[in-house]
């Protein structure tokens, strides 16, 4: 499976949750598949989805699901110790690990070679790291939501992108409707 097929499959699970989605094609795919006010789309700033989601999870009690990528986590590796030492039970970091920088033309990342993101997360202090194959994402995500325990979920899948339109919504509108959904 490629990322867009996973997102389509888990869209009914994501719909009721606060979601912080990674920059580029992941946000475009999620927006096209199931736009919700509970989705925060990153339009810039590669690498910070996990940090934004962590701040959000620490500030309020609702479950926060971060949809991140292997390339973006590698960009902001300092996030893993911060998560490992601070993440509350309502925080789920789901890393769609397709071993490539999808938004820029599927150039390979190091996770497709020798680097093991799950191992790095564990070494950084993340106690609950789960690795699944693409087809098992839905049940693993539901289990993480029900568990109310900080989770790093690494989803191994194929490289590739769906052709989706660019998000043209104004960033302040994305942010404003998201904040209203958080507060509701």
């Amino acid at each position: 499976m490629i990322r867009s097929e996973i997102l389509r499959e888990i869209a009914p699970i994501l719909r009721d949750q606060l979601v912080v989605c990674n920059i580029g094609i992941p946000s475009q795919e999620l927006h096209a598949i199931d736009d919700q006010p509970t989705n925060f789309y990153m339009l810039g700033t590669m690498g910070l989805a996990s940090s934004i989601g962590l701040g959000l999870a620490l500030a309020q009690p609702k479950t926060v699901i971060v949809i991140d990528g292997d390339g973006s986590v590698l960009t902001n590796l300092g996030t893993l110790p911060t998560i490992g030492n601070n993440a509350p039970g309502n925080y789920i970091l789901m890393i769609i690990d397709n071993g490539s920088y999808g938004s820029t033309g599927d150039q390979p990342t190091y996770t497709g070679k020798k680097t093991d993101l799950a191992g790095m997360a564990r070494a950084a202090g993340c106690d609950n790291v789960v690795v699944v194959q693409d087809v098992d994402t839905g049940p693993a995500l539901q289990k993480a939501i029900a568990g109310r325990r900080a989770t790093v979920l690494v989803v191994k899948c194929d490289s590739g992108n769906a052709k989706m339109p660019v998000i043209t919504m104004d960033p302040v509108i994305i942010r404003d409707r998201f904040m209203k959904a958080v507060a509701s």
Partner: protein
């Protein structure tokens, strides 16, 4: 009252309850004071752009954030300031240790100091420079201004403001 206590009192009075830090020896006293307050959640960052991401999330979650960092961080965070904090219009007080100014003992610090105000001006970030101890009196107003206009705001605090480095 110490400057450290005054600064943190103002943060608390303005309902800042989520603070991330990347340390500087000039800021050590403030960070210690932050740690002493029950009403503030302190989360150290490994890099300042990561810290700004944390602050963005905390603000969307209903808490007022602040970041405490060195001015060298301006070189690290320009993209984050432009495409996250400013693009989504978020408030972010940035209490910045302004290294490389008068009474600085480390020459390399001057290399980023000479770019700091120019970079902040290029980004249209409101910038205040605390050089004398009485300048801290404006901190409360600066915080109110930041959360009024939903912008990142820089408070540069130099070595003279902090009383220098001991005998240096």
């Amino acid at each position: 009252m110490s400057i450290d206590k005054k600064i943190v009192d103002d943060l608390v009075a303005n309902e800042v309850s989520f603070i991330t830090t990347v340390p500087c020896k000039q800021l050590a006293g403030v960070i210690e004071e932050v740690d002493r307050r029950d009403g503030i959640f302190h989360i150290p960052s490994n890099k300042e752009d990561e810290g700004m991401g944390l602050c963005a999330g905390a603000w969307m979650g209903g808490k007022r954030p602040a970041i405490i960092m060195q001015n060298t961080a301006i070189g690290v965070t320009i993209n984050t300031l432009a495409t996250l904090i400013q693009y989504y219009r978020m408030p972010l007080p940035m209490l910045i240790s302004y290294r490389g100014e008068l009474r600085e003992p480390v020459a390399c610090q001057v290399e980023m100091a000479v770019h700091t105000k120019a970079l902040l001006a290029q980004l249209n970030i409101p910038t205040y420079h605390f050089h004398r101890q009485k300048d801290v009196e404006e901190f409360d107003m600066i915080l109110k201004y930041t959360f009024m206009c939903n912008k990142p705001v820089a408070i540069l605090t130099d070595a003279n403001f902090w009383g220098g480095y001991g005998d240096q």
